[in-house]
Every structure is written in C-alpha cells, then in structure tokens.
C-alpha cells in the first residue's frame, strides 16, 4: 500500500493553514465563476493563472484545482434556481432540478445535487489515488511511438464519440493543430505559418483561445438569447440538508452507475457534459421512478450531477499520469504545470512526488471544503445572479481582456481573444466542437514531437505504429474509434435502404 503512505504524505503537505485558506478562496471563486455566464472552469482558471506565478506550484495547483471544483458545484445552482445551466455539464440538472425548485423544493434539490457531486468526486479521487500511479508506472516504458499512439487515441475518440458531424470535429481539431504549429519550429528553428509577422513568432497561446472561445463567445451567445435571470428563492437550513441526506441512500444504485459512467467518460476524453446526459438517460431507463423524471424527481438531479463531478475529477487522471488532459479545464491546468516548470507525464510521480500527492490529497480536502462552502453560501450566489446582465457582461469582458493581456503582456493577445470570441460564437451555433480544438492547441507541439521522433526511429515508415503489441493495440483502438462514425453511417444507410424496400 505504497499509495496510502504517499497519500498521507500528501495530506501533510496540503494541510497547512495557507493552503486551506487558498482552498476556500479557490472554491468561492470557482462557484462564482460557475454561477456567472461567460465564465467557466476553463477560462476562469486561464484568467487566474497569471496570479499564481508567484506562489509555489503546489499551492498554486491547489488553488486552481479548487476553482475547478467550485465551478463544478456552481453550475448546479443556476440550473436548479434559474433553469439556466451555468455550465454545459449542468444542462441535464435543469431537467429535474428546476421543477423541484418550482414546487418549492429548491433546498432539497440543491442539497441532493451538491451531495451527489461530492460523492461522484470522491469516488473519482479514490480511483485516481490508486489507478494514477499504476498508469504512470506502466507509461514509464512508453517510447515516442506509444505516446503518439496515445495522442492518436485521445483525438480519434473525439471523432468517434462526437454527437455532431465527425467532419466538424476533424476540422475544429485540425484548426487547433495548425494554430499550435504557428511560430518557431522547436526542432529546426524555422518559422512556420507566420506569414512574415514578427508578433506571430511567439505562436498562439491556448490560454488566449480558451478565454476568447469560452468567455467572449459565451457572452455573445447569452446576449443573443436575451437571458433574464428570474429565479426561485433558495434557503438551505440544516434540517433540509439532514432530511435530504436521509433520502439519499435510496439512490445508491443510481449513484454507483453514475460514478462508473462519470469515471469512464472522464478518463477517455468524453468529458463531464456527455457523462451527465448519459447518466441521466440511463437512470431514467433503469429507475423504477423513471416515468417521473422531468417532473421533479430527486434521482434525476443526483444522476447527472454525480456523473459530471466524477467525470470532471477523473479527467485529471490522464493529465497527471500521461500528460494528456481529458478536458479543456484539465488542459488549462496542464498549461499551468508547464508554466511552473513541471513536466507533466509519468515522470512527474517519480520526480515531483510532493507536488503530485499534495494535489491528490487536496482533491479530498477541496471537495469537503467545497461541500461546506456551497451548502452555506447558496443565497449569496443566487443574489449575484439577480445583478442585471448589463452590469455583469461588461465586467466579464473587462476581466477576460485583462486575463488575456496578463498571459504574455501582449496587446495582440487581447485582439486575438476578441477574434476567438467571434469564432467561439459561430462554432457554438454551428455545432463545431471546441474541446478537441483546445486540446489540439495544447498538445499539438508534443504530438508533433512524438510523431517526428517515431518517424526518425523508423526512418519515415508509419508501420512503427504497429511494431509491437502495445503500440499496435493502442493504434488499432484509435483507428476503430476514428472510423466508428463512418461504420455507423454505412449501417444506418443499409438499414434505411432495407426499410425503404419493404
């Protein structure tokens, strides 16, 4: 049980008054970000990242990951009280959460959501504690071809699991890769895709893209939808919490299912949003109260929230163990590691055990702190949502602009942020997925490096991706996922043709 020993060590590192203070600050900021439209986990952390440059990496990641937990919690508040999902992963929470609030059971719905979230996160953290070191140890034997195969798998699974057009997923993803290639080639020193611009030599920073795509884009969308925040009042008393907790054990089966769905979707880059929908759908089909779903069934709140948190948390597993983030927010955290001078990947467990185990320990503590903070401060955050959008919108744009500027102290970045904002608005409306684009932008250089190294090893032959059973099986799974939509289309067409003849 070397992991338990390491974990205890991690608690010793995470449990300082300073770090606990940072946890509270992080969670509070995170809930605020989750509640406000236009600010979410990914761009919120991207904006706050420069503020952590002066901290020690461990304290910085504790605060930033707590912002992430806070944002995960915060999405539920707007969904239940205002029927407006503050985050994409809390869309499914509105289905039953808002009806409950309309029936005057907002307190119960919120408690159920927060508790479900907490359980989901906890299960995912336990899984990370024991699985991540194993995965990292296994990945230590990876060479460049294996790494490229894993990257391939990550990106192909976006294509295979996308709900929309696979072509759009490919186009958006390749845009990310192309933008990642802009600037100086690290191997040959040649300038690529700069078209003579000195400013572009630095390349595109993905933090700018994240702030623009998710921040400005979201504000534009919110403005178009003309949202008015007319919500239900919420009071959470200790009695409501205890009463709800007494009912919660009934949903043990749903909780376990949701945790499994969430953990799986989080490790593979499916992400929290599809996990929450899938979990809601499965719960509706299996539960004996299934027909009441959508009318204010508590189980319908527990299922998506548990899965979303399990997925959001377990997205950090591949980031820690392999250096491959499972979600845009995990990608931003990974960007933070690089800025603090840490090399994410399996070696991190060997070289920086204090950092890794401090972070894992802080996940346990952060979620406990999170549960306490959200249960006690809901009325305050609900009040913030009553601030008119015409005050919130310009303030968020100011925050985004400053955040974009501080990444590199460059004015060009602020302009690029606006451009990415418009791109984000159009992409969102046309159903181009943004997560693969952001991940490609983050991982582009490293995917290219591993590809080049593999090609050097094999003297330019692609067959190196099948050269042993390990890399061969990863590549095979990747290609299967890549061609999955095509296969489905063929089967679907054939079935329709048969139906047409009959």
């Amino acid at each position: 049980m070397a992991e338990l020993q390491s974990l205890l060590n991690g608690f010793a590192i995470a449990l300082t008054w300073y770090n606990i203070l940072l946890m509270f600050i992080g969670i509070t900021l995170g809930v605020l970000i989750g509640v406000l439209p236009g600010l979410g986990g990914a761009n919120g952390i991207a904006i706050l990242l420069p503020l952590t440059f002066t901290m020690s990496p461990t304290s910085a990641i504790i605060m930033l990951s707590c912002i992430y937990w806070g944002a995960l919690f915060g999405g539920a508040i707007t969904s239940i009280l205002f029927n407006i999902p503050g985050e994409p992963w809390s869309v499914a929470t509105t289905f039953d959460g808002y009806p409950m609030a309309q029936q005057g059971r907002a307190g119960e719905a919120l408690t159920a959501a927060f508790t479900g979230s907490f359980v989901g996160a906890l299960v995912a953290v336990v899984m990370i504690t024991f699985l991540a070191p194993m995965v990292a140890r296994f990945a230590l034997q990876f060479g460049p071809p294996e790494y490229f195969a894993v990257y391939l798998l990550a990106f192909c699974s976006f294509v295979g699991m996308s709900k929309g057009s696979p072509w759009k997923t490919i186009a958006a993803m390749m845009l990310g890769f192309a933008l990642a290639a802009v600037g100086m080639d690290t191997v040959t020193g040649q300038l690529r895709l700069t078209f003579g611009s000195m400013e572009l030599m630095r390349g595109f920073d993905f933090l700018i893209a994240v702030i623009g795509l998710f921040g400005i884009g979201e504000i534009l969308l919110t403005m178009e939808e003309g949202l008015e925040f007319k919500g239900k009042k919420a009071k959470i008393s200790a009695r409501v919490v205890l009463d709800t907790w007494k009912q919660m054990p009934r949903f043990w089966a749903t909780s376990i299912r949701s945790c499994l769905i969430g953990c799986w979707m989080g490790i593979t880059p499916g992400g929290a949003t599809p996990a929450s929908f899938m979990s809601y759908g499965v719960a509706r089909q299996i539960s004996k109260n299934g027909k009441n779903f959508g009318k204010g069934e508590m189980e319908g709140v527990v299922a998506p929230e548990t899965a979303a948190h399990a997925a959001g948390t377990s997205a950090l597993l591949p980031m820690l163990a392999l250096g491959i983030p499972g979600s845009p927010t995990a990608a931003v955290l990974l960007g933070g590691l690089l800025i603090w001078g840490l090399q994410p990947g399996p070696l991190l467990f060997v070289e920086q055990p204090d950092f890794v185990w401090g972070l894992i320990a802080s996940m346990y503590l952060g979620n406990i702190v999170g549960l306490i903070v959200v249960l006690t401060t809901v009325p305050f955050f609900a009040a913030i949502l009553r601030v008119p959008f015409s005050i919130i919108a310009p303030v968020i744009i100011v925050v985004c602009a400053i955040g974009a500027y501080t990444v590199n102290n460059a004015m060009l970045d602020v302009w690029l942020m606006m451009l990415f904002g418009v791109v984000g608005y159009v992409f969102k409306k046309l159903d181009y997925p943004m997560a693969p684009m952001v991940l490609a932008l983050v991982l582009g250089d490293r995917a290219e490096d591993s590809f080049r190294q593999s090609m050097l090893m094999s003297q330019g032959s692609v067959t190196i991706l099948w050269s042993n059973w390990l890399v061969g099986s990863i590549t095979a799974v990747a290609l299967a996922l890549l061609f999955w939509p095509l296969w489905q289309a063929i089967v679907g067409r054939r079935r329709r043709a048969v139906a047409g003849q009959a």
Binding site: M174, P394, V422
Partner: protein, 198 residues
C-alpha cells in the same frame, strides 16, 4: 402548417438540430415582425465557415510546402507535420462545404443562424467590446474599463449615469489595487496613470 422537414428525413448530417431546433418558417411569415426575420440562414453560414476553413487549409498547406514538407537527410522537414494537418483541414472542409451547399439547395431546409433582433443585440455587445480593446491600446486599461462599463450600463442597461459611473470607476479602482499594488502585475497604462506617477 407544414413541417419544415416535411420529407420525414433526418436533417443532413446532424448539425441541423443544434443550431435552429424549432424554427418554423410559416409562423415567421405570419408574424412578420422584422426582429424575428432571419439575418443569416444556417446553411449560408455553414458554407461561409467551411469556405474559410478551406482557405485556411490551403494556406497551411502552401506555407508548409514552401518551407519543406518532405523528408530531409536528418529526418522530417519543418512543414512535414503541418502539411498533412492542412490536407486534413482541406478534406474535412470540402465535405462540409458540399453538405452546406446541398442543404441550401433544398427549399424545405431553412434553419436560421441568427435572427435580426438578436443579431443587433449581439452587435451591441461586440462593437463596444472592440472599441474597448482599442481603448486599452490608446488610453490604458483602467480608464478604458471605467468608461466602457459606465457607457455600457447607461446605453444598454439604461441605468442612471451616476450609478453607472460609480460601478465603472469602482471596478477600475479595484483592478488597479489588485494588479498594480497587490500582485504587482503591470497592465497597459495611458497618460492619466503616467501623470499620477505609475
């Protein structure tokens, strides 16, 4: 009232449903309020975006080819990887372009990308925001933020001028304290801050 997809066939690809889920062209003609008229249809926008992607892909391929996308003595050249990225962009955007054109040709499929009223709402946010970024460049972030927030509140939120000014100046002052004094991260400044000695 005719179902806009009266053929009973699912929409092309699966993009249709997410953009304009339940837009009914008939209701629009009856209502005839200019604000709900489509400013741009989804199909047009699909074509425009796919076309831009195609141009971008060609640009990536061209530049990669220019710096060398082949195999040199010491391994792959700089343009090797981006060249294929560009090729994939061209491939996927060509498919999307064809799908978009086919969608546009069908008379029955007229999803709205954005209606006129909402479009003007979006521009009401976008244009001042662009002006704000220009303002940061010219007069520094603090003054620009205060002016931007105050004007936005007055003209779009219809707030009282005094309240708007207070919020604008308050946010700017808070930012100043946070960045310049507390975290010591310098932000772009203009003549006003310089006159005050920062």
């Amino acid at each position: 009232m005719v179902d806009p997809n009266g053929t009973g066939l699912p929409p092309e690809g699966s993009q249709g449903h997410a953009c304009a889920p339940d837009h009914d062209p008939d209701r629009e003609r009856v209502g005839a309020a200019p604000a709900t008229q489509p400013a741009v249809t989804t199909a047009t926008m699909e074509i425009v975006v796919a076309g831009l992607f195609l141009l971008f892909g060609v640009g990536v391929m061209y530049d990669s080819y220019r710096i060398g996308a082949r195999w040199a003595i010491d391994g792959p050249q700089s343009g090797y990887f981006p060249f294929y990225i560009g090729a994939l962009i061209c491939l996927s955007s060509s498919v999307l372009l064809v799908q978009g054109v086919r969608q546009r040709m069908r008379v029955s499929n007229r999803g709205t990308f954005v209606q006129r009223g909402p479009l003007s709402d979006v521009l009401k946010v976008l244009i001042p925001a662009v002006g704000y970024v220009l303002g940061i460049q010219l007069i520094g972030v603090y003054v620009a933020s205060a002016v931007y927030i105050a004007l936005f509140m007055v003209f779009i939120g219809r707030f009282h001028a005094l309240r708007s000014t207070l919020v604008g100046v308050g946010v700017a002052a808070f930012t100043f304290v946070l960045f310049e004094l507390w975290f010591r991260i310098p932000l772009p400044k203009g003549f006003l801050e310089r006159a005050a000695g920062f």
